[in-house]
Symmetry: C2
Subunit: 404 residues, 2 copies
């Protein structure tokens, strides 16, 4: 007997049969004696289709109206899931975002939750109802519908779990949980039974996107434990909770990001303020820079390399070339034939030599490392794209398979 | 310079090109110096599609949830129309039903408007914005979304026009207005420039459905003049306003309803309470009875005939047979090969002999009349279905074409 928040993503409610399946799961949970709040996303590709409609009118549609448009997607899911639950004999209460007490700021299409007023949700739970909430949406101080940005339904679920002090928050999705590496590339990859918020956040930054980072950050801030598991396959999933340094497992996961490009500025004058100039120019254009490495060179000049998303490369190159000219750098080079290999694990904080083991493993496989970047619980290396898969296998073997 | 409410139905906003067209019309109206409130229906077949989704889960879906589901259809139209209007350079404010101040009772899927609180609409008009309101929906005292039943968007438009004291309410649709008869059947049919509420109501009851009767009744009650006109064709349309007895035009329109069936009970004992028993049994099963005719017969027994919608005939027959047995009537007969021909006109109140002219015209065409029913401004005759088209032509000639 507990208070449970369950979140079902778009692929879990993509059609009527799946909605019925989800309804059975929800009702089953309720009949085990639990109080259940369900958060749902829009069905399948609904959100994309709605955006597409709006863009047929205006390629950059006004954001307030776009939010009103997009919010209908989750409302349809809420209504249909309620119908399916009631058809199974349980009472359901549907909450569109404007009634669920999710108060946000006024930044349409990427609003931030300011507070949750869960009074009505708790009231309906106490009336023995299953509460179904539209994910991804809230209400601005101006009483307009806002949306929370991509993946916002995860955030809705975790925020409600925090507000009603749920015993557990279950994030149902189309994967069975978090794996030690991409099972499509590494057949030996294993499900990770439990992982810390920080590890999951670092994983997201390495290209292995399981959940929206904002949702994980929110969970961390309010200490909401949650489980990531599959809607349609049985299994325990991956528990995400407060950081704990584990015995044994030094590295939790190995991931590869093939959507990175490297930009190098050669012969940068080694003066204060130069790096700031470069990266604030990129920031102004909304280009996210990931790794940054600078080598001091001869004659007070340095080579500066950084990585950006491959889709931003052309734009980033243009900006960088302009800045390079202004600061008197020698030349700029763009390279899309790279990838980023990362290992993540809270264990590595207490285990010196992890980096050395990674570099040695790569050297044994004859793979050259072009850039290195480290955090407390992550080590990333930029290597040639063609070496990516071989490197992933080798490093997964070294850190995950050997320990088994 | 005026205060105008415009309503666009589902076929007027069926796709993106049509929504852009409507936006241009709205913006044009605004730029002529008017304040404009626009009421929109769901795009094309959206409502039917949503109902179909719900029925895939449950053939009789719970009504509260069905309302939440259906309400999303108009919200999509509101959002897209706002985007289209803003793209043309005017400011728009979209009002989903839950914000528009349309307060209804709690009868989900067929809620009645209790009052309109137009404060926010007026506020936004005074800010020089075009206000776009979701038709067909309101908010119950329990703060749940309700819908007003089929054709409810007309009602929304007229109720708002009444509440904000609009100068005119324009109902845009896929026909050019109200005609003297169905132009598909009578090429000589002409557009009626103006018609009274009562005539339009009687027309609806004769099978010539232009608008939901509830909307017309509401308009009559609050003296809201409105125009029915085409979205895509230029034209003045038909003005609907307070009854006025016109000179000249005795009959405004001639219509035929081919979806009627006749049920006759022979040998009904002529005692008080018998008719009540029959029609309350039908009413309990939600069967609408249209015309009722009783002939006194011999031996204190009468023959009683009435018409129902052809889709209800089987059900009505079963009920009637049961009651006939109870009351000791002789037999029951059902007949689907009939149709109902009607003439409507406020002028006939002051012109005796209209009925005689109609019957004579039918007799000249060799058409037998089986039932007759009259009101102050309408005369209806039941005739054989095969005679319908000939009768329609003849009577339209007699009353409409001759006067021209």
């Amino acid at each position: 007997m507990g208070l449970i928040v369950q979140k079902y993503g778009g692929s879990s409610v993509a059609d009527i049969e799946k909605i019925k399946f989800v309804a059975r799961k929800v009702v089953e949970t309720k009949r085990k004696g639990n109080k259940v709040v369900v958060v749902v996303s829009a069905m399948g590709k609904t959100t994309d289709n709605l955006i597409n409609l709006a863009k047929q009118i205006n390629p950059t549609p006004p954001e307030r109206e776009l939010d009103l448009l997009l919010s209908t997607g989750e409302m349809v899911s809420v209504a249909l899931l309620c119908i399916a639950i009631e058809t199974l004999g349980e009472e359901a209460e549907g909450f569109p975002g404007y009634f669920a007490g999710i108060k946000t700021d006024s930044f349409h299409t990427k609003a931030r939750i300011q507070r949750i007023e869960p009074g009505r949700i708790i009231e309906e739970l106490n009336r023995d109802k299953i509460v179904v909430v539209a994910g991804f949406q809230g209400l601005s101080p101006e009483n307009l519908i806002t949306t929370l940005g991509r993946g916002g339904s995860d955030l809705t679920a975790i925020a409600i779990a925090a507000a009603i002090k749920a015993d557990i928050c279950e994030i149902y999705t189309d994967v069975e949980g978090v794996f030690t590496s991409d099972p499509n590339k590494i057949p030996e990859a294993k499900l990770i039974p439990s992982i810390s918020y920080d590890e999951l956040l670092e994983l997201a930054s390495t290209g292995a996107k399981v959940m929206q980072s904002r949702a994980v950050e929110f969970a961390k801030k309010y200490s909401v434990s949650f489980v990531v598991k599959s809607t349609f396959k049985e299994g325990e999933g991956t528990m995400v909770k407060e950081l704990e340094v584990k015995e044994g497992a030094v590295v939790s996961a190995v991931s590869i990001d093939e959507n990175q490009a490297k930009i190098t500025i050669f012969g940068v004058p080694d003066k204060p303020g130069i790096a700031g100039k470069i990266f604030s120019s990129l920031g102004k254009e909304n280009i996210n820079v990931d790794m940054i490495v600078q080598n001091t060179g001869k004659d007070n000049r340095a080579d500066l390399s950084f990585t950006v998303n491959i889709n931003d490369m052309e734009k980033a190159l243009k900006i960088t070339e302009k800045v390079a000219e202004e600061i008197g750098a020698e030349k700029v080079n763009g390279d899309a034939d790279i990838c980023k290999l990362s290992i993540i694990g809270v264990g590595m904080m207490n285990h010196p030599g992890v980096a050395g083991r990674m570099f040695t493993a790569l050297a044994e496989a004859g793979i050259n490392i072009e850039m290195i970047s480290t955090s407390e619980i992550k080590i990333s290396c930029v290597i040639r794209k063609k070496d990516g898969e071989k490197a992933l296998k080798k490093v997964h073997q070294e850190f995950i398979e050997k320990r088994g």
